[in-house]
Structure formats: structure tokens, C-alpha cells
Symmetry: C2
């Protein structure tokens, strides 16, 4: 990275969370200047999540074994579920525990784990935590009760690297959890080829604390609470840092400063909790929400549409994207699939169905409470329909906050 973009990044990260903080520099920790956390996961740019269609396929596959005499006692399948269905594509889960003494309790959980996507271990820990909490907040649950952390140290790390990086990453995770008002009480760590960071968020609550995702009505609008394009910004920044062919091709169209700013905006956005969003969803009567993550805006919108009680369809017409990242994606021949709605997001915002008038007040109050970086966008509408998503002719909104 040239001094130029380094300076830009430094300037921006300085006021991160209103706190004076220098960007991570390996040399500050006696590590090699070329140390990069993101190198401890060499899957390159492809998404490290299982594609949604693969997961659906796996979960519906019947166990057919050639010539196997299966005499296992077979529990009765639940109605309308394939015999072996097991929905592990739902990162979040809600379980109702009927209790005689004190009414039904709800157990709301979210889990995720993945590989480092930025080089700063402290911020990486924060992002991992904010990401896991995202699924709990999407259900309107504001109070998370317990967090577990999932970690893997890379077999390719030296002892020095491990002893330096992991405590910082754990600290970032813990600090983010603290901001969410919850403690990290346990977890598990393994040794893996790639470094892994993730966690489990759990809330025990009453029904009234949960906003069911399935109550959208025609006339609602669709709100998105963080800009898209995190995945593009992260990759572009990586290419620039590596100074390889991809950057040589793109550098004629994008300045290092632009890339630094986009990366910084992505990092801020990924670190930001959706907690106040969840609070305001209650205040403004949201009709359902979903966190935007690895399946991209369209992937998660489809999940939200499919679970609706009413015969509605979601129409998406606006795409708020981190400044210039839509242009980057287009120049890359849309290998990111951003404009097709399939580009993964990391620790993304919530996609919320809400009454139109309430949504205006919601957006205003978000900014009042969290500042100008908490902008939300009306990106579409809910109309009568067949529980699908209308996704064509999107207008890109370049976001610069």
C-alpha cells in the first residue's frame, strides 16, 4: 500500500467509534511488516459460504443407499418437510419453550463463523461479533443474554503471530459484545489450516420482545439500514494492497484514496451493531426483517418473501452501494454479482418491511440516535404477489457517509 492510501485509511480510522485509534500495524507488535491476517485463508475471492442452492440441495437429499437394508426406526416426518430436512441455512433460530409456570419463553439464537476479511485483528473481532448479533437483532430482539466465541488459529501462523493476533481479535470481539450489553462466557477454539472467527448469540426473551419476520402487508416499504458493497470494497482494497494485475487494470479508474475511503466505510459499517435498528423496529411497528449477509440482498430478500403470511411480493428498485463500488463491480464484468443482488455482504444491515409513513420517522430517528453514518434507504415496496422478489431495473445510489 502506498503512503497515500495508508494516510487516508489512518485519517478515517482515527475517529472510529469516536475513539482515537491507530490502524493496525504489524510492526507495532514486532511482526513482519508484510503480515496480513487475511492471508490466513487462501480461498481468494470466492465466497467462503456454501451457496444457497447447494445448501438447499444438501438439505433435501434423501438418504439413498444402494442395497442398504435400512431398518432403523424411522420417526414420523413433520408434515410438508422432506424426511431429512434440516435447515442449517438459517443462521438464526427461534425456539419456543412452553412453560407452565411463567408463560412461553422464546430462545432466539444466531450463529456464524468464517475467515478474516480484514487485516486489523481488533476490528476483525468486532466485525465477527456484530455479524453474529445481526441475526438476533433482525428478529427485533434488543437484549442478547450470552455470547460464545468460535475461533481457529491457523497452522501457518508462527507462535509469535498467534500470541499477538489472537488476543487482539478476542479483545475486539469482547469489546463489541460489551457494547451490545452482553458478556462472552465461553466458546471453542481449534487449530485449522485457515484462521476462523465467529460466535453464537443467544437471547432468552418473551414473545413481545420478538418481531416476527412474516407480517408484511401491501403498501409497506422496504428499508435497508446499511449500504451494500462491503465485499467489493474489501476485495478491491486487497487487490490494491497486493498491487497485482487486477489493480493495474482498475487503477486507471479508481484512485487509492477512493479505495481507502470505500474500505474504511465498509469497515465502519460492518462494525456497527444493528441494535438501535432493532429498538426502533419496535417503536415504528416493523412488519418483519432479515439480516443481509452471505447470500446477498436478493438471496435474503427471497427468504424474507418466502416466509410471509400474506400474499405479497417484494419489489426492489434502489441499490444503495458504498461510493463507486457499483462501478468497480461493473468494471469487473459483475463477477461479484452485485447488480444481480447476489454479492455477499459481511455484517450487513437489516432489510425491513414497514409502513411507509413510519419509515420516514424511523430513518430520521436512526440518524438522531446514531449519527449521519446510520442512514437508511427506502429501496422498494411490498405489493400483492406470490411471495417472490421483483428485482429488475435497480437504480444505484452511491453512498458517501
Amino acid at each position: 500500500m502506498s503512503n497515500n492510501s495508508s494516510a487516508a485509511a489512518s485519517e478515517i480510522e482515527c475517529d472510529f467509534d469516536g475513539v482515537l485509534m491507530r490502524p493496525f500495524d504489524p510492526c507495532d507488535h514486532d511482526l513482519d511488516a508484510n503480515f496480513r491476517l487475511t492471508r490466513f485463508a487462501d480461498l481468494s475471492e470466492r465466497t467462503k459460504k456454501m451457496p444457497k442452492d447447494v445448501l438447499s440441495k444438501l438439505m433435501s437429499i434423501e438418504l439413498k443407499v444402494k442395497g442398504q437394508k435400512e431398518t432403523k426406526p424411522e420417526p414420523e416426518p413433520e408434515p410438508q418437510q422432506p424426511k431429512n430436512a434440516l435447515d442449517i441455512s438459517a443462521r438464526g433460530s427461534v425456539f419456543t419453550k412452553p412453560t407452565t409456570l411463567f408463560g412461553d419463553l422464546q430462545l432466539v439464537q444466531g450463529t456464524d463463523f468464517g475467515y478474516p476479511i480484514i487485516d486489523d485483528p481488533y476490528l476483525m473481532g468486532k466485525i465477527a461479533c456484530a455479524n453474529v448479533l445481526g441475526d438476533v437483532y433482525a428478529k427485533g430482539v434488543v437484549a442478547c443474554d450470552n455470547m460464545l466465541m468460535l475461533l481457529a488459529v491457523s497452522t501457518h501462523m508462527t507462535e509469535k503471530e498467534r500470541d499477538t493476533i489472537l488476543p487482539i481479535m478476542m479483545r475486539g470481539f469482547k469489546d463489541c459484545a460489551m457494547k451490545a450489553g452482553v458478556n462472552v462466557t465461553g466458546g471453542q477454539s481449534v487449530v485449522n489450516r485457515w484462521c476462523i472467527v465467529g460466535g453464537v448469540a443467544t437471547s432468552v426473551c418473551k414473545e413481545i420482545e420478538i418481531i416476527q419476520p412474516n407480517k408484511a402487508v401491501p403498501g409497506d416499504v422496504l428499508l435497508l439500514t446499511k449500504p451494500l458493497g462491503t465485499h467489493v470494497a474489501l476485495n478491491l482494497h486487497k487487490w490494491m494492497t497486493a498491487d497485482g494485475d487486477k489493480w493495474k487494470f482498475l487503477k486507471h479508474s479508481f484512485s487509492e484514496e477512493e479505495v481507502g475511503k470505500a474500505h474504511s466505510m465498509a469497515v465502519k459499517s460492518m462494525c456497527r451493531l444493528n441494535r438501535i435498528t432493532a429498538q426502533l423496529m419496535h417503536k415504528y411497528g416493523a412488519h418483519g426483517a432479515i439480516a443481509i449477509a452471505e447470500h446477498g440482498l436478493l438471496g435474503h430478500a427471497e427468504t424474507l418473501a418466502a416466509c410471509q403470511q400474506n400474499d405479497v411480493a417484494l419489489s426492489i428498485c434502489n441499490m444503495p452501494v458504498i461510493n463507486r463500488m457499483a462501478s468497480v463491480a461493473t468494471q469487473c464484468g459483475d463477477s461479484f454479482q452485485l447488480m444481480r443482488g447476489r454479492c455477499p455482504e459481511h455484517s450487513g444491515g437489516l432489510l425491513i418491511c414497514m409502513d411507509r409513513e413510519a419509515s420516514i420517522e424511523f430513518c430520521k430517528e436512526m440518524i438522531t440516535m446514531e449519527g449521519p453514518s446510520a442512514r437508511s434507504w427506502i429501496i422498494g415496496i411490498v405489493a400483492k404477489g406470490d411471495k417472490t422478489v421483483n428485482f429488475s431495473k435497480q437504480r444505484v445510489i452511491d453512498v458517501n457517509i
Copy 2:
């Protein structure tokens, strides 16, 4: 593997769980005859968990950054905890949620994830599930409310292998959860160099449902509810299957049939839930327990000793080990550290502190309820002491059930 041991394994696995079930054969699924699930994690024999001392070290490391002007607001540290302490070595966690309406609620959680240790994907799923539940049962909690599954598909698997193996593994996990009376409601799956399987178990319960681990008194005995040596048996079986130098050295002392039987006993033991154990811990007034896992008998005994309220020490004098596996470990120069108490176990039994007379009845009732394979052993005593473990002059009990 020769036909001989294959037949032995087949014979034994046939009556697994009282159910007619053929051992997994890749050819039954149109996979290559040489397909081995355990090959999708090439860490060889070393443990894939972070050693306990490394974890302790990482968790107590202060964040010292050369020349960093840290002005982050520092939350007050909890008393007697290092500033950045975060105990993720505790796979299980108990969180108390004070509630005004209906008394304190307890949230008991366990999590673990790791790599395939056997080649049968169905049984591997079962073992992963039983293992995760182990930490919840160790706290006396019988009713688990919710399970999440953590999965990674290996980048080295073909699509065919992935589509064959994963649904079977998920089915095993789900079936085991069902046996424990709990549903798998969500989870997360990623793409990883190595295959990963694990999960999260959560129970919301009242205080009375929990057995605190810290109530041991002098005069108690130490009960162990599953034999040790799973790790040795798994490795030995792998060596035999590969027919390499290690097996050539050991085959003069151990027959294929013996290895097949030991492996089979290990698999059965790892699949078995500690649920009835947890039930009987209540009935017979256990004074605390811990699940035996990656840190070995001594490692976990030390954790149990250290958390005691009373000034007690644990003395371990018996080592029940899967038949002949202590001998294997000794012949390997104790690279397994079995006789030093540090050999990892997979989905191990519970180490329980209990009144001596009660323990006799406990052992009897375990067998009445679960059959002869549910044997427990008195392996030591609780005496006055300084919260440490006395671990010397162990007598090996060769277990053949």
C-alpha cells in the same frame, strides 16, 4: 483393511443402538472405494484443539502495543480477572438471567466443533452431537432446548462426495439430537480446507435443574462414566487401515480383530449420550461433574479441582481404558500421553464427585437403565487439599464391554 477386521467391525456395528445397520461403505454410495472421511483433515495425529496452556496464555495476554496511544475508554475489569481475560477454553457456559417476573432463569450452553475422526459420516454426525451435548449434561441439565449445527465442507471434496457425505452426517447429528429430545433448528456452514462438524447446545432452565460443579467434599469418590482411550483406538485403527510403518511395528502385538473391537467400542462409547448420567446425578446427589474431552482426564480433572468451594484435592488411582489401548499407548512410547492423563478423548464420559455409598447405587442403576455398556468406574477419591489433582501410580483397568 483385510476382510478379517472388516468382518469384525461389521459384526459389531450391526447391533449398534440395537439397530441393524451396515457400516458405511463408500461403494454403496457410488463413491471411490478408497474414500475416507478422515482424510479431509490432514493434521495427522496431533490434537486439533489448542493446548490448554496455549489457551490460558492467550487469554491472559495483555494487549501491549508498541508506542500506541490507547485512549479507548477502558471498562472496569472484573475482580481477579486479567484485564482482557476471556475464557473461551470453557466449552460450556452457564449464564443467569435475573428476571423480576418468574425468578432467575439459567441459560446453559455447550459448543464444540472439530474434524472428522471416523470415516462413517452417519456415526460421525452422531458423535459430534453427543459431544456438544456432553457439556450441558455435565451440569446436570437433562433437557436441552435447542441445537445449532456447525459445518464446513472441504474444498478437496468433489461435488459428488459433498452431496453424498454431508446429508448423511447431518442426518446422524439430527438423529442423535432427536434421541436427546431436541431439534436442530439452525446453524451455519462454510467452505473450508478441512471438513468441520460441530454444534451448539442450549438449555433454558431453572436453577434446580443444574448441578453446580463445585460442591465436592472430602470422602466423595470420583466416578468416570466412559472408558478412556478413544483417541488411541481411533489412531490405531487409522494406522491399520493405512497399513503403514506404524502398523507394521504394532501388528506383532495386536491383532486386527483386537483393533476392530477397540475401534468399535470407541465409536459406541462416543455416540452414547451422557443424558441418563445427568438424570442419575440428580437422583444420587452428585457434588459436581465435568465432561472429559480434548484436555484428557487429568486436564479436565484439574479444571474441576480448581473450581471447588471446599479445600479439597482429587486423587485419581484407576484408569479404565478400552481393552489393550493402554498397552498400545505404552508401546508408542506414550506419545499419546495417555498414562500421563493428557491424551485427548472424544465425546468422553463425565467425571463425577459423589458420596461413596450413593456411587455404588448410581453405577448399578446406570447399567439397569442403559445396559452393560453403561459401566462406570470409581477411579479415585476426594480428600482435603489445595484444589489440585493427585495423579500418580494409576492402575490400568482394561475395559471389555
